[in-house]
């Protein structure tokens, strides 16, 4: 860790560290009480990966049940719990923690700060999120429900009223769902406030907002969006609990309540939530694509504007999840238009990423492979999104496997692909070791093939009239061969993820030593050691452009001359 190898002189404190006690109890204690943004970021990441494996296992059970018609592998009750838990887990216990995993680990390093703005709030938010997740899963063993103890929620992750009323969901399964989401919701709000405060007020000298890395920009917009959207969800959950325990009638249709009201509350959260989840994927693409194309991002101001634009427009599209509930024709037309408008800033982003690659010298290391997969899949996801926004077509496609295919194209094809890209990209920074490139390529190609076998096929099942949420289907419907193919693709993806998990552990102990800047990158996190010291930078960095390390590596041709 000689200081001279670092581009910014004096960025490390070279006094030798104090002797540390290293029993496992000390280490555990250190992680539990930590307020360090890097440790919290890694804990968010470990939580997300853990629940990704759990949610993935649930998906595999679902696919075994559906692989053949009239299958009796699991009971309908179990099946309904599995898809409810799969959806809830992937959105709230994988997708949301990932926002904060990236935000926590990368943002302070990228803006040249020593920590997040509110380190203790940060720790508090993490533990709320984790405990909310554990609370939700406790329902599997502790929740007395309609069919005895051990009753996880089985009302879908939308939990449409009045199915959640006590008349239709006796027992406590639904309560576990509502309370767990209230708890993780507060954790999410704390994390969002922290990212906003850090990006706004902790930037180092010279880093104006228009020099802030796009990664940080996207997570800033993301967190703003999140503050607006988590609030109605939490409010709706509290109303639901009041309905169930204090006899209110917000959603209780048998006493004059409105099922409709829940839908609006849920989707004004639920649609922007998709953007909350996908923004970190955009953020990762905006770092990885330029570095591996060896070019500055094309149209930085347009990218910032498009991000803010997506954030705003996405708040006005929620009822496109409700085309079939009987809105007026004018209401339907309004949400068709607003939904299609989101396509414009989203298109701008795709074009800018492609233009960044244009004229570059593209190096196809594993992170870049995942990002290229992301670009293809996100393009298709956007186009099927346009199809779904066409309200009359949506009357057919809504609630079918076409929708499942569409949103998995976003959640897996875009988000999970880029999460993998991000992990391969920043793993050397966080651990000091490279991930194995051969295993990485196996992981990419298997996952890519499995993904397309599964989710491309799902579109056709939907067009042939197969609805979602069904635990079985009659043999004469003609969906059997499609479902078998979908299930096989699921297994291929599972194998790929296991290779990834093995690669993580193997590389952690045996990976090649990375050095401080293995990708020859340009943002500030590569200016400190790998892994970074607790204080990140001993002296406050000063930047003059969007790519401070480019300026240092190319003093004859610095960015600040052109920006």
């Amino acid at each position: 860790m000689a200081d001279q190898t670092l581009p910014i002189h004096g960025s490390l404190d070279l006094t030798p560290p104090r002797e540390q006690e290293n029993t496992w109890l000390d280490i555990l204690h250190d992680w539990v009480i930590t307020v360090d943004h890097k440790k919290l970021g890694l804990m968010y990441m470990m939580m997300a990966i853990f629940f990704l494996l759990v949610g993935g296992a649930e998906a595999i059970l679902i696919r075994i049940q559906l692989a053949v018609p009239d299958h009796h592998f699991i009971s309908p009750q179990t099946f309904n719990r599995l898809f409810t838990m799969h959806g809830t887990t992937m959105v709230f216990l994988v997708g949301m923690p990932l926002v904060f995993a990236w935000g926590n680990y990368i943002i302070p390093l990228q803006v040249g700060a020593r920590d997040m703005a509110f380190p203790r709030l940060n720790a508090f938010s993490f533990w709320l999120t984790l405990l909310g997740g554990l609370f939700l899963y406790y329902s599997f063993i502790g929740g007395p429900g309609l069919y005895g103890t051990g009753s996880a929620p089985d009302v879908t992750w939308w939990a449409y009223a009045p199915l959640t009323a006590r008349a239709f969901s006796p027992g406590n399964a639904t309560d576990y769902w509502a309370l767990a989401l209230i708890v993780t919701g507060f954790g999410t709000l704390g994390g969002g406030i922290n990212i906003i405060a850090t990006a706004i007020s902790m930037r180092c000298k010279g880093m104006t907002l228009m020099r802030m890395p796009l990664f940080t920009w996207l997570l800033l917009v993301d967190s703003g969006l999140l503050l607006v959207t988590i609030t109605p969800l939490t409010a709706a959950q509290i109303m639901l609990v009041i309905d169930r325990y204090l006899g209110a009638h917000f959603f209780d249709t048998q006493a004059g309540g409105q099922a409709y009201l829940w839908m609006h509350f849920f989707w004004i959260f639920g649609h922007p939530e998709v953007y909350v989840l996908v923004f970190p994927a955009f953020a990762i693409a905006s770092e990885v694509i330029p570095v591996f194309s060896r070019k500055a991002i094309f149209g930085y101001p347009a990218m910032v504007a498009a991000s803010v634009g997506i954030g705003f427009v996405s708040l006005g599209v929620w009822a496109h999840h409700m085309f079939t509930v009987g809105m007026t024709s004018a209401g339907n037309a309004f949400f068709v238009l607003s939904t299609m408008l989101v396509g414009i800033p989203t298109g701008i982003k795709i074009f800018n990423w492609v233009a960044t690659m244009w004229g570059g010298k593209i190096r196809f290391h594993t992170p870049m492979l995942f990002c290229v997969g992301f670009l293809f899949q996100f393009l298709i996801a956007g186009l099927t999104g346009i199809m779904l926004s066409v309200a009359p077509w949506n009357w057919q496609l809504h609630g079918s496997y076409f929708v499942i295919a569409h949103f998995h194209y976003v959640l897996v094809g875009a988000i999970v692909f880029n999460v993998f890209a991000g992990i391969y990209y920043w793993f050397p920074k966080a651990t000091g070791r490279m991930m194995n490139e051969t295993l990485g390529k196996w992981h990419f190609w298997l996952f890519f093939i499995g993904f397309h076998v599964t989710f491309d096929t799902m579109h056709f099942a939907g067009l042939e009239g197969m609805p979602r949420w069904i635990y079985t289907y009659p043999a004469d419907r003609g969906w059997a061969h499609l479902n078998l193919v979908i299930s096989i693709g699921g297994v291929i993806q599972a194998v790929a993820v296991l290779i990834f998990a093995f690669n993580l552990f193997w590389s952690l102990f045996k990976g090649k030593i990375a050095g401080n800047d293995p990708w020859d990158a340009w943002t500030l996190e590569w200016a400190t050691s790998s892994p970074p010291p607790v204080y990140n930078f001993a002296t406050d960095p000063v930047v003059h452009s969007r790519r401070p390390l480019w300026d240092l590596k190319h003093p004859e041709d610095p960015d600040w001359k052109y920006e």
Binding site: N80, A302, T324, G326, V336, G360, V390, Q396, E464, D557
Partner: protein
């Protein structure tokens, strides 16, 4: 220069799509299909959606070809070569280019929106003609009830409607209600789905152009047996439909040979939930059984309506539909035979 027809992007997109559908086992034919594909429309709303969807597919297909082609070209053309370590020229952006790829999508959105809006209004706001049949659909966990207010009849699970033809349309207008939770009425060959929501009546219409049985199912999760809330729509000739209505309007058959079974039905708990017109059984919680034997299927389309299936269904509904709201009444074998015999007289 005008390209020959087969070279136009839209045509190619359509061809590729149709081939993919063919490969996935879809049959092109008129009338009802075993697979309820949205691409075998047999009614005006479904056909309008079919046409609109191909228009949208042509535009999105063209966008895909252009952008994916560009991306493929970039990947192949701009790979790093061998040992060249120099950095490429740095380009920071271009306002003209940004403007171009903003304005072109805006124009595409305008076209797509106007086309979509036209179809929304055409389907959703179509005025109801005089000749239309009215049916009130009531969703229950996990079966369908159909009330024909003008005919004064109630049918269950199997919806009968008259065939329509383009010269003399006789569409059926459905009013959608729910007795408990949210459901959704989805028969893909006839129309898109609309939800049955408590306290929020909805409307939809169909005008099937070919006779036969169209299948579909509930499209909104409604509880443990959502998967087996199947839909069957019988499109009859006008004569068949009139005969069916006349039969449904009769009270239940009183067959003295089945008196023992009727006694079981009326003294065990059956009549608390089920109605048989013309008898003491007037329960409203479960399906009306007055004309049970006029139906082809049991338990909302789960099994064919045979004596063995009917007996097993009464013995233990969980055999076919675990979690269904009908309890197993613990009848003796003898009682089971008697009540099955009684139900079999309800033509």
């Amino acid at each position: 220069m005008k390209l020959p027809g087969w070279l136009r992007v839209g045509r190619i997109a359509r061809l590729v799509f149709v081939v993919a559908l063919l490969l996935s086992g879809y049959a092109f034919a008129d009338g009802p299909q075993a697979t309820p594909s949205i691409y075998a429309p047999a009614s005006t709303p479904a056909s309008e959606i079919d046409h609109l969807s191909f228009f949208v597919l042509e535009i999105t297909g063209a966008i895909f070809v252009v952008v994916a082609g560009l991306l493929t070209y970039v990947i192949l053309r701009f790979r790093a070569k061998g040992s060249d370590d120099s950095e490429p020229a740095q380009i920071y952006g271009s306002n003209q280019v940004e403007l171009a790829w903003t304005v072109i999508p805006v124009l595409i959105v305008v076209v797509l929106f106007l086309t979509t809006a036209r179809v929304i209004f055409a389907i959703q706001d179509a005025p109801q003609p005089q000749a239309a049949l009215n049916v009130t659909v009531v969703g229950h966990q996990f079966w369908w009830e159909y009330r024909y207010p003008k005919q004064g009849i109630v049918a269950v699970n199997e919806l009968h409607v008259p065939v329509s033809d383009t010269t003399h349309p006789s569409p059926t207008y459905l009013k959608l209600l729910s007795a408990d939770v949210d459901h959704s009425f989805w028969v893909p060959q006839l129309a898109g789905k609309f939800d049955l929501i408590p306290n929020h009546p909805n409307d939809m219409w169909i005008d099937p152009l070919h006779t036969g049985v169209y299948v579909g199912q509930c499209g909104q999760f409604c509880g443990v047996q959502h998967a087996n809330m199947l839909l069957r729509v019988y499109v009859d000739t006008p004569e068949q439909f009139a005969a069916w209505v006349a039969n449904q309007a009769k009270p239940g058959v009183q067959d003295p040979t089945a008196a023992e079974g009727r006694h079981v039905f009326e003294t065990e708990a059956c009549m608390n939930c089920h109605t048989v017109q013309g008898t003491a059984a007037t329960g409203r919680f479960g399906p009306d059984l007055t004309h049970l034997m006029s139906r082809d299927t049991l338990a909302s389309g789960v099994k064919p309506n045979t004596r063995d299936n009917l007996r097993e269904w009464i013995r233990n509904p969980d055999t076919f539909k675990p979690g269904s709201l009908m309890p197993a009444m613990q009848l003796s074998d003898n009682q089971l035979d008697q009540v099955t015999t009684y139900l079999e007289t309800l033509k």
